[in-house]
Symmetry: C2
Subunit: 116 residues, 2 copies
Amino acid sequence: MKIGELSKRTGASVRSLRYYEQEGLLASVRMDNGYRTYNWVAEEQVRTIQFYLSLGLTTEQIGSFLNCVLKNKEAFCAEVLPIYERKLQEIDAQLLQLGQIRTNLLDRIRSIQESQ
Amino acid sequence: MKIGELSKRTGASVRSLRYYEQEGLLASVRMDNGYRTYNWVAEEQVRTIQFYLSLGLTTEQIGSFLNCVLKNKEAFCAEVLPIYERKLQEIDAQLLQLGQIRTNLLDRIRSIQESQ
DNA sequence: ATAAACCCTGCCATTAACGTCAGGGTCAAG
DNA sequence: CTTGACCCTGACGTTAATGGCAGGGTTTAT
């Protein structure tokens, strides 16, 4: 399958698929005319990439364990757990900060509304 | 006072102070040699800017009501409340998304740990 | 044989609040 | 009169995953 079809099947833009290749996440075989070709495995691979991106991981992080998790269970790939844990800490820090901002905002909104 | 002193007093970098001026948030008077001069009011003004930035507002949003809130109570400035409410919605959307990611991450972490 | 629909490789743009030079004046103290 | 500590104006860099365009080849169908 060519890149346009892979794009339609996965929802990833053609531009994104080329970017994943450039970042070493997705391989393609070139036809004589230079067109990229993909097999059915690529489709699942793209969905896997999309999932990890949706967790907020960077392409670099994904690249560090993608080959492993495509062939094994996640638990087998030692890279994965520490990345997950780092990400969790980041998320918790962001949640904390957003929560504080939210509290501040609510206070301000309430005090404006009360004074009307 | 010159920009260096204002920077020390407020903790904002010299670069930031110039940026606030460029964005119309902070005025200065120029000396004969071109140096910026500030009065004591500027110090409080910078702290006000810093506070609004800490709420995650953009310099553009801040600029839309800063002059008003420097001279009146927030409640008097009609621009403020809708901006606060929009920001609150953004925050809530982010909190929701981060919460979902966090749940996913925790699931993955747990399933890895259980299989060890 | 031609138009529509693909594909390719660059490369610039995006976001927001700065950081960080370069290249050059100004000023105070010794 | 020189050194060090200031100040100035540009202007490019930063972050990350794309969007979008230019300029050009390929394929498919009519």
